[in-house]
């Protein structure tokens, strides 16, 4: 993964040059040819700005060999993320701190579609049920990516990409059963409709068991869901790419109380990109996304999102690679409130507009690159927001990169910040925060990457973040704790380091390791009466260590193991833990794969998140899977 990240960085760091002329190419050695960077439209990294950044890439094969059964499990492969499973279906996932059930400082995209809910800017991981075999790669960027990606890309960006329909031709059946994921079936079929026009359709369903309480009793959060979808790709040789894809899902989730949570939704996305010249292209993307969630006793949420994006890349002279774009998003929601809690008004429509410009300037060709730019966004809550950044990458030689960056990012208010009231009618105990403004981050980053040997690569990223206007809950009649009103009364700072290493020990054995150090501090700004929220906005371990081993026992057998250590979360009195996963895979023929996966093997059960009273624990589990290609 790290090696991938290294080269992904170097790839995006250099101004894409067209490859040399045929006559020169013919004279090159194989080694030289292997070193040429090709930037096809489909594979070109979307964000040149991320050259100088802490990026890790999880490939489809990494996911297969980890045996990951869900997107959050796959995200455990990125050592720059904090991934904590809360119960059978909820996850707290963030980078660089401020992790929470509603971690709201990460931008998560699936094939270019934003999947965080505009209600609270966090992600419902229980409805991101992609077919695992369709995942092409996941880019995980820790650190702000707001200049190109926009608000919410404060602490990091998770960019999930599925395979082109061109690469999923033929049939695939996957069936598995286990102790936690009780059964799961995935089906896919891909074909060709016309020259260069490919399609696939898929269906997935699963039934997931309960997590347990600390005393071992089940916690009644079993759930099941199904999803169907399609993707069509028109992939002309010449550089036109047209994608149309969509998914529809439905699920039922157990919760304490008589009625289950019901979820359903769907999306439709179209994307067109065209190569205009060797290093110039345009991309247009449009999508519609609908989510529905019925939480008995709490809310019914209906959210419709319409999004449009345009991006154009062009060279300016020989030293500048210029990228600019425009985008807009319309969100209309419709909340079914209950007497206990209410979003007021219950139905609103919001608009976001944005424009960004970015220039990558080769100060010295192939050696020193400066990327600078800004995004300007307009939202209905706070008006204009500016998110500039500057990144410098220095490559003393082909094997090393030293980089540094200064960026500003914001998290604009979401519905929960401004419009949440409890109870639904006055007098309120919790009142909507009409004064909540955007949370602001100023981030300083520095990093170093080195390919020490062909077999050994290291990467270190360090950062210092300062936050202002973090969300607080201000008591209205202090010293009484209630009523409270949301406001922007906290500030914070964090610093840390992310170290990763990848070592190809032998041709059959790869080792990967990650070590992340993190310190997060938050406090009231002068004038704020908040004394409680600061303890509840960040739940982060100070240390995390992961080691993964990928071993090919023979041509047909694979044995993969991972060990992770997560230090205690002080704010939740949660003890640190170590856990191990082990996978044995057998491919008797190219068409068949049979694997056995043991997860969380070190303890009968362990918790990863939450305070003692609300804690749920995860059990040791075994999962078996058979997949057949035809």
């Amino acid at each position: 993964m790290l090696a991938f990240a290294l080269s992904a960085g170097s790839l995006s760091g250099q101004t894409p040059q067209s490859i040399p002329s045929p006559d020169i190419l013919k004279k090159m050695s194989v080694d030289e040819l292997l070193d040429i960077e090709v930037t096809s439209v489909s594979k070109r990294p979307e964000k040149l700005s991320e050259a100088a950044s802490a990026i890790q890439v999880i490939t489809g094969d990494d996911i297969r060999r980890a045996g990951a059964t869900s997107l959050p499990e796959a995200l455990r492969l990125a050592s720059n993320l904090e991934v904590a499973q809360i119960d059978s279906r909820q996850w707290a996932i963030s980078a660089r701190g401020f992790n929470n059930v509603f971690a709201d400082k990460m931008l998560v995209l699936v094939d270019g579609r934003t999947v965080y809910t505009p209600l609270y800017a966090g992600v419902y991981w229980d409805v991101q049920n992609l077919m695992m075999a369709d995942l092409d790669r996941i880019e995980v960027i820790s650190g702000p990516g707001a200049t190109q990606w926009g608000s919410n890309a404060v602490n990091g960006v998770i960019n999930v990409t599925t395979k082109s329909a061109k690469d999923t031709q033929g049939g695939l059946l996957v069936a598995g059963a286990g102790a936690e994921l009780r059964n799961s079936e995935e089906m896919r079929y891909g074909g060709k409709l016309a020259p260069d026009l490919y399609y696939r359709v898929y269906a997935k369903q699963f039934d997931h068991g309960d997590s347990v309480r600390p005393n071992g009793r089940i916690s009644n959060d079993a759930w099941r869901a199904g999803q169907i979808g399609f993707r069509m790709d028109y992939d002309a040789v010449a550089g036109d790419l047209l994608t149309l894809q969509g998914d529809v899902y439905d699920g039922e989730i157990g919760q304490a109380g008589p009625d289950n949570i019901g979820v359903n939704g769907g999306n439709l996305l179209g994307r067109w990109s065209r190569r205009l010249a060797e290093n110039s292209d345009v991309k247009i993307q449009v999508y519609y996304d609908r989510t529905h969630r019925l939480i008995p006793g709490s809310f019914t949420q209906n959210v419709h999102t319409y999004d449009f994006d345009f991006q154009h890349r062009l060279p300016l002279g020989s030293a500048h690679d210029f990228l600019w774009g425009l985008g807009c998003r319309f969100v209309r929601d419709d909340i079914g409130n209950t007497p206990a809690n209410a979003f007021l008004p219950p139905s609103v429509g919001h608009k976001w507009f944005n424009a960004f410009v970015q220039d990558e300037f080769a100060l010295s060709k192939d050696r020193l690159h400066l990327t600078f730019g800004t995004k300007v966004e307009h939202n209905d809550y706070t008006g204009f927001e500016v998110e500039p950044s500057a990144r410098l990458a220095w490559r003393p030689d082909q094997k090393q990169t030293v980089w540094g960056a200064i960026s500003r990012a914001v998290r604009t208010p979401s519905r929960i910040d401004r419009d949440l009231f409890s109870p639904a009618t006055p007098p309120y105990r919790v009142a909507g925060g009409e004064n909540v403004v955007s949370e602001k981050l100023l981030a300083y980053e520095a990093g170093y990457r080195v390919q020490m040997e062909p077999q050994l690569a290291l990467s270190l990223a360090t950062f210092v973040n300062t936050y202002g206007d973090l969300r607080s809950l201000e008591p209205l009649n202090p010293p009484q704790s209630f009523p409270v009103q949301a406001n922007s009364g906290l500030r914070g700072r964090s610093n840390g380091a992310e170290l990763t290493a990848e070592w190809q020990a032998t041709s059959r054995w790869r080792l990967r390791a990650g070590w992340t150090e993190l310190r997060v501090h938050s406090e009231p700004e002068p004038g704020s009466a908040d004394r409680a929220t600061r303890d509840s906005i960040a739940h982060d371990p100070n240390h995390q260590v992961t080691v993964r081993s990928l071993l090919d026992l023979s041509a047909h057998w694979e044995c993969d193991a991972s060990l992770r250590y997560v230090a205690r979360i002080i704010s939740q009195s949660l003890p640190g833990y170590a856990e191990a996963d082990l996978r044995l895979g057998w491919r008797p023929t190219p068409a068949w794969e049979i694997s056995l996966l043991g997860q969380n093997l070190l303890h009968a059960q362990h918790p990863e998140f939450n305070t003692p009273g609300t804690r749920r624990e995860l059990q040791r589990t075994i999962y078996g899977k058979v997949s057949w290609r035809f």
Binding site: F4, S7, A8, S10, L11, I19, P22, L25, K26, M28, S29, V30, D31, L33, L34, V38, T39, S40, V41, K43, P45, D61, D167, Q169, G170, G191, K192, D196, Y234, V237, A238, G239, D240, L242, L244, V248, D250, G262, N264, G266, W272, R274, R275, I284, Y288, R290, H292, N302, H304, R332, D334, G336, S347, S507, D552, S554, A555, R587, P590, R629
Partner: protein, 199 residues
């Protein structure tokens, strides 16, 4: 699904439907505009580089003598399926010779046609036929090359993998040996040698 019930509850159903329809129409228009556009003929950098590799393979692979009918017979590079190279590959090898063998490019639509060539690039369009194609070519002195994901696992000889924006080689030496092909260390050293049955 609750799609319909939800819409019934939503007071703005009509305008929502109208909006959705407008977006869909707009997208359909976009699609029509694209498919109507003329397609240029230059391949992507990725395929240009792959074409150069095919040319290199001709230099760094040794075929047994019977693979050529006569000492001056052409060395044929075949492209099976939807050709991603356009005229680039032809231009690249025009006038080139490997020893006394002039290089030629042939294109094929069916797997059975390509048994007469020396190197065959199997395009992604043939991914579903791969097993049949490879079964037919098994043991022949014909270097099979492709960028289909499962290629070497299914018994193909050289697979292009685009990683980190660079083209990598996965070489199934066993399969090449079965075809009595000798691959030069100049290719083997920088390529990743894979064991049969693997990616």
């Amino acid at each position: 699904m609750a799609f319909l019930t939800m819409n019934r509850r939503c007071p703005r159903r009509r305008s929502m439907l109208r909006q959705t329809t407008a977006w869909l129409l707009w997208f359909a228009w976009l699609g029509a505009a694209v498919s109507g556009a003329a397609a240029p003929t230059t391949p992507s950098d990725e395929y240009k580089l792959k074409a150069v590799f095919l040319y290199n393979f001709a230099q760094f692979v040794e075929w047994p003598a019977p693979a050529f009918r006569e000492p001056t017979a052409p060395l044929i590079i075949g492209v099976l399926g939807d050709d991603p190279f356009g005229s680039y590959l032809d231009d690249l090898v025009r006038g080139e010779k490997i020893g006394d063998h002039p290089l030629l490019v042939h294109r094929y639509n069916h797997g059975e046609e390509c048994s007469g060539c020396h190197i065959v690039f199997i395009c992604r369009s043939e991914a579903r036929e791969l097993e049949k194609i490879l079964a037919r070519l098994k043991g022949r002195s014909l270097l099979t090359v492709s960028d289909v994901d499962t290629f070497t696992r299914q018994g193909g000889m050289v697979r292009f993998v685009t990683e980190n924006g660079k083209v990598r080689l996965r070489i199934n030496v066993e399969a090449a040996k079965a075809g009595e092909l000798t691959i030069s260390s100049k290719l083997l050293r920088p390529g990743t040698i894979i064991t049969p049955g693997k990616d």
